[in-house]
């Protein structure tokens, strides 16, 4: 098991290196191929009153005049050993892992990410609890009552959930429950409270985003669980379990659901990992300053350190989530052996 984990972690580092190189290359090589000069690239970050002289100085300060390999090496060195940053009135040490300084705000990226991570984690965790609980629950019930009114209704609602984009459901839910048209009991956008400040207010401020996000995911999980359960419940070992006289509850949950869980866990790992990387639409719609909004700002401002930071952090979470999923396989399904 330990060897397996170590091997996977080494693989993850390799993958993150590739991701960072690709991101770096896209950011720098593509504009250069299009003819952008270091000064031209620096001019994106020096305001609109900048002179050519300022652009030259900024290109020098941002290191754009150095070969790409040197720039990338400097970035990696910052992650491993930290970096120094000249903020005009002095030099600041950016401790490892230093993901650089934003080209636009001149703020260190890593603290920014850590500052926004709790928002995204809160959003993803709460929504995940809802969508797994509700989605899997409905899926199981639908499978057990195949063809019933409940099954049909649940699957129609699930289809709607999958089909409706989050920016639409978010807008509708806020109109209905936040702005007094007709209800006014849900928290307004941009009113996020940290869990340290107040647990009830934290939950209150996230309730609508959780439900909105969970609605979409729960729908697909319900359909996935239903399909898996229908298949599993038809297996021979289920018949054997019933023949042995096990209670139906045990047959469903210990044997049926367990067998159907494997693909759900796989999808959950990917979904959750990606969400931590930034639930861009949900965060934007509900004005939550999480990683998703940070990524959007970075992309809009063509701010490489921000984009790189979010990309790497998202990749880390996807890798970690997948690793946990792979480990869970062995727990859920006794036939799986990690090697």
């Amino acid at each position: 098991m330990v060897t397996y984990i170590i091997r996977r972690l080494i693989g993850a580092v390799f993958m993150l290196t590739i991701v960072s190189m690709v991101t770096f290359a896209i950011f720098f090589v593509v504009p250069q191929l299009a003819g952008a000069t270091p000064e031209g690239m620096a001019s994106r970050y020096i305001g609109r009153t900048a002179t050519e002289e300022t652009a030259k100085l900024a290109a020098e300060r941002l290191g754009f005049n150095d070969p790409l390999v040197v720039q990338y090496g400097r970035y990696v060195k910052g992650i491993v050993a930290g970096a120094e940053y000249d903020y005009g009135a002095g030099v600041e040490h950016c401790p490892a892992p230093c993901l650089g300084y934003s080209f636009t705000t001149q703020q260190p990226v890593f603290p920014d990410l850590m500052n926004r991570l709790p928002v995204t984690l809160s959003l993803a965790l709460g929504a995940a609890v809802l969508w797994v609980g509700i989605g899997v629950g409905i899926g199981v019930l639908s499978a057990l009552r195949r063809g019933s009114v409940f099954d049909r209704t649940a699957m129609i609602v699930a289809l709607a959930g999958v089909s409706l984009p989050i920016f639409f459901t978010a807008l509708i839910s806020m109109q209905l429950f936040s702005y007094g048209n007709p209800f006014d009991f849900a928290a307004k956008g941009g009113t996020y409270t940290t869990i340290q400040d107040s647990l009830p207010l934290w939950a209150y401020s996230l309730l609508l985003p959780w439900v909105t996000l969970a609605f979409q995911f729960a729908a697909s999980y319900a359909r996935l669980t239903r399909a898996g359960m229908l298949e599993t419940m038809g297996e021979d070992y289920i018949r054997t379990a019933r023949a042995k006289g096990l209670r139906e509850r045990n047959v469903v949950f210990k044997h049926g659901l367990r067998g159907a869980l494997t693909p759900i866990i796989t999808i959950f790992g990917l979904d959750f990992g990606l969400l931590i990387g930034g639930a861009v639409l949900t965060e934007s719609a509900f004005s939550l300053n999480g990683l998703g909004k940070y990524a959007i700002q970075g992309i809009t401002d063509q701010d490489l350190p921000k984009v790189m930071g979010v990309t790497l952090l998202a990749a880390v979470f996807v890798v970690v989530a997948n690793l946990i999923v792979d480990l869970l396989y062995a727990v859920v399904d006794p036939r799986v052996r990690l090697s």
């Binding site: 903020y87 005009g88 009135a89 002095g90 705000t105 001149q106 920014d112 006014d184 009113t191």
Partner: protein, 590 residues
């Protein structure tokens, strides 16, 4: 021009040689709210445009929390590094510059009054040296005295455009800086007294390279807000700006928001300009714009900081609901959306061909492109009505602004093109409103036989490489360039200089003036720069405006407007011509 968020520009004096591109263009209820109805206090009646001509819901009551939100984020909270219109409005809560646009409705709010300075600047006879004397008893938030050297230092640090890339550069270009000076960080210990100096604890002296009579407008900008050198942390100063105003930072989370609370070392005795009514300002940043509009309408938020008006979704809601509409103000801004008519492109070298465009254009289509009457009103000349000394000039009248085809054809005949001709129009590809203008031009001019090819270009390089580059304009036959301009300060010079001075046009591109090359206008601008009599100065601006219109090198489209909504429970709401949005210093809560 202050961004909105829009473009910037260069400084006044240096702009004579070089112009830059410009644009076109936890509790969920606010404290003190007067109830779910959101009705204002007795004596204040909700009415459409109530805050334009007077003070809506006047009050001297102190206390409460003012809640504001911004759909984006500040470029920076540092006075040396910010260039948004709303930011210059808001910064006055925690920073005091030498002069100030007072919180008075209309034109009175566009006349600078002393702020940190005890009186307006005293110019030398040649208008090249300006002296300001600070008030007595000024203090920072920590109780330490505000000294003249702090103002000089603030101006010097703002010179460093690598550390502070966003701020305005007027003082960089106007003052007589030492050769190779790079600001106090890189040019450590360098003497910059040739540009700005503190001759004693209370006197700041500015030395200009070229005379300028309107310098009081320039020192109203944020770079003259004092910065104590010992507390200066360069690019990190924005994390905690040391307050010289009535409020100071309690909390500042860049990218999320911040809170201002009262500065214990500020008092009305040392500041006659700020009522400082609320106890607290809570500002959220990066808030979804539609969410922000909805929260203002529902009473959860007081102010949308950008002051650029509600979005499309909320606009129709406000205009169709009488109860909401009476909470709205349709503010005219100091911005002109226009089209340059380039005389360097044939046949626009002939005056009558240019005049034909003035008559052929249906300006109601221009208004429609910007969202209808709440987005702007038909402009007949350059200078907008909110600039002091405004004079309406209508040399090319037409019924309801829809154009006069007969007169257009007559002009075409005079210029030897009775059947029309072919030309091209450029616009910024990222701007759908400009695209609509280009299409409207094509349609309107087709009525008189002028065929127009529409050419979009990237916004970022619009002036530097395309529409602002004279050789490119000729090569691509860009007879028409969709354009726009907003003023950084409310006077004729601030509005006209960058778009009518031929000396800002550079062969290498970069100026938003692509069409005005009139020697007489250049002379009038120089004359206005030296004229100290306001009335005479304003008359000169009107002359410039008229001359440009006579030469027909600019087709004015609309004077921009924005539809603002007053948050529920606000007091002292007013729109001054100095801010062209709600004056944030004047506001209070019930």
């Amino acid at each position: 021009m202050r961004r909105k968020p829009v473009w910037a520009m260069t400084a006044v004096s240096a702009a004579l040689a070089m112009g830059l591109a410009a644009c076109g263009g936890t509790s969920s209820t606010p404290s003190g709210e007067s109830g779910s109805s959101g009705q204002p206090a007795a004596g204040a009646k909700n009415a459409f445009n109530a805050a334009l001509t007077g003070v809506f819901n006047p009050s001297t009551k102190k206390g409460g929390t003012l809640k504001l939100a911004n759909s984006g984020d500040w470029d920076s909270l540092d006075p040396a590094d910010t260039y948004y219109n709303y930011s210059w409005n808001f910064i006055r809560l925690y920073g005091r510059s030498l002069t100030f646009f007072p919180g008075k409705p209309g034109v009175e709010g566009a006349k600078p009054v002393p702020d940190l300075a005890a009186e307006l600047g005293k110019p030398s006879d040649d208008l090249k040296t300006w002296t300001y004397t600070l008030r007595d008893g000024l203090k920072y938030e920590d109780g330490s005295p505000i000294l003249a050297k702090d103002v000089a230092y603030a101006v010097a640090r703002a010179y460093d455009k690598v550390t502070f890339p966003n701020g305005p550069t007027y003082l960089n270009e106007m003052l007589d800086w030492p050769k190779d000076y790079q600001g106090p960080y890189k040019s450590k210990g360098a003497d910059y007294s040739s540009a700005v100096e503190a001759t004693d604890d209370k006197t700041v002296v500015f030395h200009l390279k070229e005379p300028y009579s309107g310098f009081d407008n320039i020192v109203q900008m944020s770079p003259t807000i004092p910065v104590p050198e010992a507390k200066d942390t360069g690019a990190k100063y924005k994390e905690h700006v040391v307050s010289s105003g009535p409020y100071m930072f309690e909390k500042n989370e860049i990218g999320k928001g911040f809170t201002l609370v009262r500065n214990p070392h500020w008092s009305e005795a040392i500041d006659p300009n700020r009522p400082a009514l609320p106890d607290r300002y809570e500002v959220s940043t990066n808030v979804n714009a539609d969410d922000m509009d909805n929260r203002i309408l529902s009473g959860d938020l007081h102010v949308a900081l950008e002051g650029s008006g509600v979005g499309t979704a909320a606009l129709s809601k406000v205009l169709t609901d009488p109860a909401l509409k009476e909470r709205a103000d349709n503010v005219t801004q100091q911005r002109l959306w226009y089209t340059s008519i380039n005389p360097t492109v044939k046949p626009f070298d002939k005056l009558d061909c240019r005049v034909a465009v003035q008559y052929a254009m249906d300006k109601t289509a221009y208004v429609a492109a910007y969202g209808g009457p709440t987005g702007g009103e038909i402009a007949t000349n350059l200078v907008p009505p909110t600039i002091p000394g405004f004079k309406k000039i209508d040399l090319y009248p037409s019924p309801e602004g829809k154009g006069d085809v007969a007169k257009a054809k007559e002009a075409l005949t005079k210029c030897g093109q009775p059947n029309g001709f072919a030309t091209s129009v450029s616009y910024r590809a990222e701007r759908p409103k400009e695209k609509a203008v280009a299409e409207a031009l094509k349609e309107s001019l087709a009525r008189v036989g002028i065929t127009v090819e529409i050419k979009p270009y990237a916004q970022k390089d619009y002036f530097s490489s395309f529409a602002g580059k004279p050789s490119f304009v000729v090569k691509e036959n860009l007879g028409l360039v969709v354009n726009g301009w907003g003023s950084d300060w409310p006077d004729g010079y601030g509005f006209l200089q960058q778009i009518t001075d031929s000396r800002v046009i550079r062969d290498g591109g970069g100026s938003s003036n692509t069409s005005v090359r009139i020697p007489e206008v250049d002379k009038l601008l120089d004359q206005a720069r030296l004229e100290q009599d306001v009335t005479k100065r304003e008359a000169l601006y009107a002359q410039i405006d008229e001359k440009v219109m006579q030469e027909s090198v600019i087709l004015p489209g609309i004077w921009a407007k924005a539809l603002l909504v007053r948050g529920q429970g606000l007091t002292n709401v007013l729109v001054s011509d100095g801010q062209q949005m709600y004056d944030y210093v004047a506001l209070g809560v019930q």
